[in-house]
């Protein structure tokens, strides 16, 4: 169940170029959030809330961590929030990743600011004794974040578009070299998700989608994604953001 909650900023750090890690305290959110869910944040002076994924949860400290990149005016303001500020959020929102108890090796494929929800998932999967392989793509070296965190979960490949760090290219250039896996989970820009789901069309996998949102709760029909060519659709905010790759029509 989603609620409207106040979260207190406990920490905020620029961990890569234009990329911030923010720790937010709220017991309801930290107790109930599942990997893949997001917060719909009210940022002062903005008409619409901003959806940001939950990147990790610390139930002992009653905190959740978000990671965001400055993309426009809202995320810019968010980066200005000081420790102690209060942020209003709807959450935990959306459905989160479906876990597959039968799978033993899991491939995580993240692009840019699509990486955060995969971290929360990866931690959970490691707790469940799964073997994790991660491929993380970034624009350039300056944008790379959470490499160490993912390495602690398992084998991790970094790619950058310009080759300034890790291997050069796209995440799809690495997928072929990965030894067998049972299920993949991917989040990132739409072109990446299209390429990944095409490349891995015969695999079992889930993708997490982004779309501009109005309500964030399923009421306004702003964030739909077609499921077929006959008018079928899902709402990303409510039915997603995670979908089985066969469920939607990218």
């Amino acid at each position: 169940m989603m609620k409207k909650e106040e979260l207190i900023v406990k920490n905020s750090t620029e961990i890569a170029l234009e990329t911030y890690e923010m720790v937010l305290e709220n017991s309801f959110i930290s107790m109930t959030a599942k990997p893949g869910q997001f917060l719909h944040l009210l940022i002062h002076g903005h008409t619409l809330r901003r959806p940001i994924s939950i990147a990790s949860v610390d139930r002992d400290k009653n905190t959740v961590t978000i990671l965001f990149k400055i993309n426009g005016s809202g995320t810019k303001h968010l980066a200005d929030y000081q420790i102690g500020s209060v942020i209003n959020a709807l959450g935990p929102a959306g459905n989160g990743f479906t876990l597959e108890p039968e799978s033993s090796t899991i491939l995580l494929i993240g692009g840019g600011i699509g990486v955060p929800p995969l971290y929360n998932l990866g931690k959970k999967l490691v707790d469940n004794q799964k073997k994790i392989i991660s491929i993380l793509g970034f624009q350039t070296k300056d944008y790379v974040f959470y490499e160490q965190e993912f390495k602690q979960l398992g084998e991790t490949h970094i790619v950058t578009n310009d080759g300034s760090y890790g291997s050069q290219g796209f995440v799809t250039d690495v997928i072929g070299s990965i030894a067998d896996f049972d299920t993949y989970y991917s989040c990132g820009p739409l072109p990446m998700l299209r390429a990944v789901s095409k490349e891995l069309v015969h695999k079992n996998g889930y993708i997490s989608l982004e779309e501009r949102m109005g309500c964030g709760v399923g009421a306004c029909f702003a964030c739909v994604i077609p499921t077929d060519h006959n008018g079928g659709y899902r709402k990303i905010c409510k039915d997603g953001p995670v979908f089985h790759h066969q469920e939607v029509n990218l």
């Binding site: 008409t47 501009r212 309500c215 709760v217 306004c220 029909f221 702003a222 964030c223 077609p226 409510k238």
Partner: protein, 304 residues
């Protein structure tokens, strides 16, 4: 009588506050936040004859104190709405208003007529901001003759009171209001969104897939107040006012301008509890400005 109570054709409202069409779906999502019995009424998302997928995404954009939307009338079609949505809302003691839309006179008639079948819709809100595709895309909402025609046809097809929802994108809002009043409208709903656009600089093209969208939110409130104030002096049917309401003070401003009740759209997205919070704040707000009932405020701001 409760100080918030409002009587309108077909609608006995416990308070003057209802969520606006398209901003509240069919109530399910918000029913998880609070009891829908709190609301004065519920205006459902637009219904068309058949299911529609609507426009491509992106469908919304943020603007200064407002937003643009181009959802494109996505809905499961009137039959499905009656079967799955009205039946859900039947469990609440809150009147339901069905917003109806179409691309031809026949479609409007069909949708209006369909709602006769269910006993839990109290009134129709006739959304005339749609182009008449059959007659070459002429806007129902900007031509008084067309607006009167669709009003008349819907009135004949339906046994429910009809509130015509006016578009603000016109040179003469009073002419529109008078035309639909003459055609038999039981009330007016105003205003719908102003047509606007945002261009996305990095991609150098309109941000919305539909290019243009409807501007809503606090940005348009002064336009809504002006139009209601103007129309109130020329028609006698009641007005459901809307456009940028976020507080109980805003509700008072609409009532003073001549609205009999109000609807709240965009503000639900910022604060899912905005409707019940405004309803709770109304009695105290009325008192602060020297009023004892909603009824008493209506049109009191009009200087003659």
């Amino acid at each position: 009588m409760n100080s918030l109570q409002v009587e309108l054709p077909g609608l006995n409202l416990k308070n003057p506050v209802m969520p606006a069409s398209g901003c509240f779906g069919f109530g399910r999502e918000y029913s998880e936040f609070y009891d829908l019995n709190k609301l004065g009424a519920i205006i459902m998302k637009a219904a068309t004859g058949e299911a529609r997928f609507g426009n491509h995404t992106p469908r919304v954009a943020e603007t200064a104190s407002g937003m643009l939307n181009a959802i494109g009338l996505q809905n499961p079609g009137v039959e499905s709405i009656i079967e799955h949505e009205v039946s859900f809302l039947r469990d609440y003691q809150t009147p339901v208003i069905a917003n109806i839309a179409g691309s031809s006179l026949e479609e409007y008639e069909h949708v209006a007529h369909s709602f006769n079948e269910t006993d839990h819709v109290a009134a129709l809100e006739l959304n005339i901001s749609c182009p008449n595709v059959k007659e070459g895309g002429i806007q129902f909402g900007t031509d008084p003759v067309m607006a009167a025609r669709v009003t008349d046809r819907v009135k004949q097809a339906s046994n429910l009171p009809v509130y015509v929802k006016l578009s603000p994108n016109v040179s003469d809002i009073t002419a529109m209001a008078k035309a639909v009043e003459s055609a038999g409208a039981d009330g007016l709903s105003m205003i719908n969104t102003l047509t606007g656009m945002q261009i996305h600089l990095p991609s150098r093209k309109p941000l919305l897939a539909n290019k243009t969208g409807g501007l809503s939110g606090p940005a348009i409130k002064p336009v809504a107040i002006r139009m209601i104030y103007e129309v109130r002096q020329h028609v006698s049917i009641p007005i459901i006012g809307m456009g940028g309401i976020t507080t109980a003070e805003d509700v008072l401003e609409f009532l003073l301008a001549g609205a009999n009740a109000v609807a709240i759209g965009t503000a639900n997205f910022q604060n899912p509890f905005v409707c019940p919070e405004i309803i709770d704040a109304l009695p105290e707000t009325l008192k602060r400005y020297g009023f004892s009932s909603v009824q008493e405020v209506v049109g009191k701001g009009i200087l003659t």
